[in-house]
């Protein structure tokens, strides 16, 4: 493998990491900061993608599609929080798991009922299609560079919200002791609805942005959900920095594992079975990474030590 190809693959890994962060960002907020296990996060991602596809199909405008994705996911998030999640903060994680599992069923099948079973069309705007040549001769799609930019902007925004604003501090306080923060005069219920809606909107945004280069279909949210959890847990729950670094690690491991492991096995067997064996190990790579990180650091890379 030539050095330039390797460099390109490293870049691909980092890029896919940022994309993963974008997908995980909303979950970081809801899970990491509010401490709520929201399995329905993937469904909110799907709702964003479907809303975008529907609006893009009707109006032809990608900008409007993004707005629609944000709005639809935020609205769905707020509604879900008011009707369901609100009753679950005081319960243990298990009730949250079951309730949000039920929400997956409802939202997925509801979406299918509305939009049918066939994948939808959503493409990137013409202005962002095509490639640029980076220094070193790497040809790279413009749209992916735009995704990197959005991902980094979201990371900074979240970090600022969480660490630097009173809203962020109060939310984290509520995560420690809801009753107490309310007794100090903070309307924590309203804050939580707001945060949940923001998290949902981020999921919707990711769904729309990533949906333009992937397939928009029912069920698209579930693989993302698992990956997003992997990312957050590797980074350490509640840490935005951790989520970003976790995402980059996962992106790199996944990409380089898929590329390098088959090469490695080619040293031992014929190309066809090397490709198969290598890719078999590659598909386990991120889980091996996660288990390894947790065994080494039981609360993730940047999680709070007790």
């Amino acid at each position: 493998m030539s050095p330039i190809l390797l460099a390109e693959q490293v870049l691909n890994g980092l890029q896919s990491g940022v994309m993963l962060f974008l997908m995980a960002a909303g979950l970081t907020l809801i899970f990491g900061v509010m401490g709520l296990i929201n399995l329905a996060h993937g469904s909110l991602y799907m709702i964003g993608a479907f809303a975008a596809a529907a609006v893009a199909g009707a109006t032809g405008s990608f900008a409007l599609a993004l707005v629609a994705a944000l709005a639809a996911a935020a609205a769905a998030g707020a509604l879900i929080e008011l009707l369901v999640i609100r009753r679950l903060y005081a319960r243990d994680h298990l009730d949250q798991v079951l309730a949000t599992f039920a929400l997956i069923l409802i939202l997925s099948e509801g979406t299918r009922w509305l939009f049918g079973s066939f994948p939808l069309y959503l493409n990137m705007p013409a202005g962002l299609s095509g490639t640029v040549t980076l220094p070193g001769g790497i040809v790279y799609p413009v749209y992916r560079l735009a995704l990197i930019a959005v991902g980094i902007a979201v990371a900074l925004g979240l970090w600022w919200l969480n660490a630097r604003t009173r809203l962020g501090i109060r939310i984290r306080a509520g995560e420690n002791d809801r009753e107490m923060i309310a007794a100090l005069g903070v309307d924590i219920s309203k804050l939580y609805t707001l945060v949940f809606a923001i998290g949902a909107a981020l999921a919707g945004l990711a769904g729309a942005l990533v949906g333009a280069i992937q397939s928009v279909q029912v069920g698209m949210g579930e693989p993302v959900l698992i990956l997003a959890f992997v990312v957050i847990v590797i980074g350490g729950i509640g840490s935005i920095k951790g989520a970003l670094i976790g995402a980059l690690l996962v992106g790199l491991t996944d990409t380089l594992g898929g590329v390098l492991l088959p090469e490695l096995f080619k040293l031992f067997t014929d190309p066809a079975s090397a490709a198969a064996t290598g890719s078999a190990f590659a598909s386990m790579a991120i889980y091996v990474l996660m288990a390894g990180v947790l065994i080494w650091r039981p609360t993730g890379l940047f999680g709070a030590r007790t």
Partner: protein, 357 residues
């Protein structure tokens, strides 16, 4: 009174395939208008254990005579051996894994669609006939994916620029596209069913790499093409059916399907339709309760297939022509047209392993 049990995927991510299967099947059933045939349809959720449970239910409490409808090979492998072991007939509308064509063939099992390798073989034959000398081939790492690449290689037979297995369910193909770019390939063959194919094609179209692309029909089928859009234009795909196949049965099927359901039919609909017609033709001759006679009637395949000439080989898999289609745009709709015949009278690679010779 004959009962037919259809087990197919009607909910969740893979539902579109099952829905087309069902709609094609029912189109033929309703056209026949026979009130002595009852079809029971159930949703397998794409889970093997649910499919097994449904098969048990249909056999044990509904007492069906014939089962059909399963889309996925892994579900077929869960249901078919047990069902045929209990003396039921199974007619496959899609999935036709190698085991069931070879060592595991069974007198009560018929594949009406194809043998899984066929469409990949067509792409391989096409690559050879086009004179490609350095294709890059790619499929997900699971049995069907491995069969796919083997099928392609079987009829292509030349050098490869690269052979890559991706993860099942992968959504980002930047790394593979970079490998393709660097490999010096002169063409690409890929098998990535469902959403994986959509993702790959969108990303490929935006990558600046511009090589001819081939694949089996699954990734370029009617339902999926609309989601891929412009990115699929010009792609060559191997198929045993196309909506522009010139025969009377096909014309009637395509217009009837469009009229009834308001959309163009897919491959799966065509297989469903053919399966129903095959069944009906056999029911005209014999009752399923008379297994010997019914089997013979099925095997005769006295029906008008939408694929034109159609007969069964000794392993009860089809012998048929396999074509190459090209993705085109008709008005606002993306669809396919046949551009070549890849292999004539193709049976399957495993027929000699089947003991029913």
């Amino acid at each position: 009174e004959v009962k037919i049990g259809m087990i197919t995927t009607l909910s969740g991510g893979g539902a579109s395939l099952g829905i087309d299967t069902r709609d094609g099947f029912m189109l033929a059933m309703e056209a026949a208008g026979r009130d002595d045939v009852e079809v029971i349809i159930e949703d397998d959720q794409r889970k093997p254990d649910v499919a097994v449970q449904l098969a048990d239910k249909m056999i044990q409490s509904e007492k069906v005579d014939i089962l059909t409808g399963i889309v996925w090979s892994n579900l077929a492998m869960a249901v078919v051996p047990a069902a045929t072991a209990q003396g039921k007939f199974y007619l496959s509308t899609n999935a036709a894994p190698a085991q069931l064509a070879g060592r595991g063939c069974n007198p009560n099992y018929f594949s009406v669609s194809y043998q899984n390798d066929n469409l990949h073989e067509a792409a391989g034959a096409y690559a050879k006939s086009e004179g490609y000398t350095n294709p890059f081939i790619m499929a997900p790492n699971y049995p069907a994916g491995q069969d796919s690449l083997n099928g392609f290689k079987r009829f292509y037979g030349g050098e490869l620029a690269g052979e890559v297995y991706t993860k099942l369910g992968q959504t980002d193909y930047a790394a593979e596209i970079a490998q393709i770019r660097a490999s010096g390939a002169d063409s690409i063959f890929f098998f990535l069913p469902g959403g994986m194919g959509i993702s790959f094609l969108k990303q490929y179209a935006d990558s600046g790499v511009d090589l001819p692309v081939m694949g089996p029909a699954f990734s370029f089928d009617q339902a999926i093409l609309q989601a891929v859009g412009e990115a699929a234009m010009g792609v060559k795909n191997g198929s045993n059916w196309s909506k522009d196949l010139d025969n009377a049965a096909n014309a009637a099927f395509v217009s009837g399907f469009e009229e009834t359901y308001g959309r163009l039919p897919s491959l799966y609909a065509a297989y469903g339709y053919d399966t129903a017609n095959l069944l009906l033709s056999a029911l005209d001759v014999a009752e399923p309760s008379d297994a010997e006679a019914f089997r013979a009637a099925l095997k005769a395949a006295e029906f008008d297939s939408v694929r034109g000439e159609f007969s069964f080989d000794t392993n009860q898999h089809p012998i048929q022509d396999i074509y190459i289609r090209e993705v085109i745009k008709e008005g606002e709709v993306y669809t396919n047209k046949i551009v070549a015949t890849a292999i004539e009278d193709r049976s399957s690679a495993y027929v000699d392993e089947c003991s029913m010779n």
